[in-house]
Symmetry: C2
Subunit: 148 residues, 2 copies
């Protein structure tokens, strides 16, 4: 189990490193052919399959090239016998965005299965929380997303 957790942590850390390096082959290396990703932008129904997943990254790499960070701040991994999941918080933004909103974090959930003794990511959910103004936390829980 400890070896499995270490393998999964390494997989996710290497993935984030590949994102920072605009290394597309590295980004998709640990991902299943049937990956379903809920990305920050639409499509609402998710990015389905490894080919679609691959197409997501060039525009993120472009954003990275403008100085955006993609740093894992914390990660929690739960390992089972044949499935695992992890959730993480990432400092993800340009230095100007993080200066204006120091609390801002990308929230990330990854679900994995073990195939032939190798862990692979089958589901990924990325999101930023919705706020009223983008700088302060809203007073209450309001579905501003749905209201726009």
């Amino acid at each position: 189990m400890i070896a499995d957790e270490q393998q999964i942590r390494s997989l996710i850390e290497r993935w984030a490193e590949a994102v920072r390096c605009s290394d597309l082959a590295g980004v998709i290396k640990g991902h299943a052919h049937d990956i379903v990703m809920f990305d920050v932008p639409p499509p609402y129904k998710g990015v389905r399959g490894l080919d679609a997943y691959r197409q997501v990254w060039p525009s993120i790499f472009q954003w990275q090239a403008q100085g955006a960070s993609f740093e894992i701040e914390s990660m929690d991994v739960t390992v089972g016998r044949d499935l695992a999941f992890a959730y993480a918080l990432l400092r993800c933004g340009t230095s100007e965005q993080l200066r204006r909103n120091p609390e801002m974090r990308l929230r990330l959930t990854l679900c994995l299965r073990k195939e032939n003794d190798r862990w692979e990511v089958t589901h990924e959910h990325h999101s930023f929380p919705f706020t009223d103004v983008g700088e302060e936390e809203p007073a209450g829980h309001i579905f501003t997303a749905a209201q726009t």
Copy 2:
């Protein structure tokens, strides 16, 4: 495994039904004491623990009472020996919001573990995708969230 999948589907369907009925006890029934939820609004670091999770719901119930839906449209469940995960798309909004933006879906990821032969939710991630204008899908993948 089939029995497990059925148990998990029922748990999630009953949870959504409890949300629609503003039934707080029903909403938290299948949840672990150490649940970590990434909710649609902040806090950025997530809602941590069952007490905090409980406090999220009254304002959502209030929104529901104004006519918002919370209907599971599709759900995909992966069951392992001791862990499971599910992702789902929900029609979640008032009829006016869904009229203006018929494609809008709440994306939901749930991670579960089996404790004493009973499945419980240990992690939940809710989000709406970010769009530029909230009605059309943006042309490219732009981290509009981070840019606000």
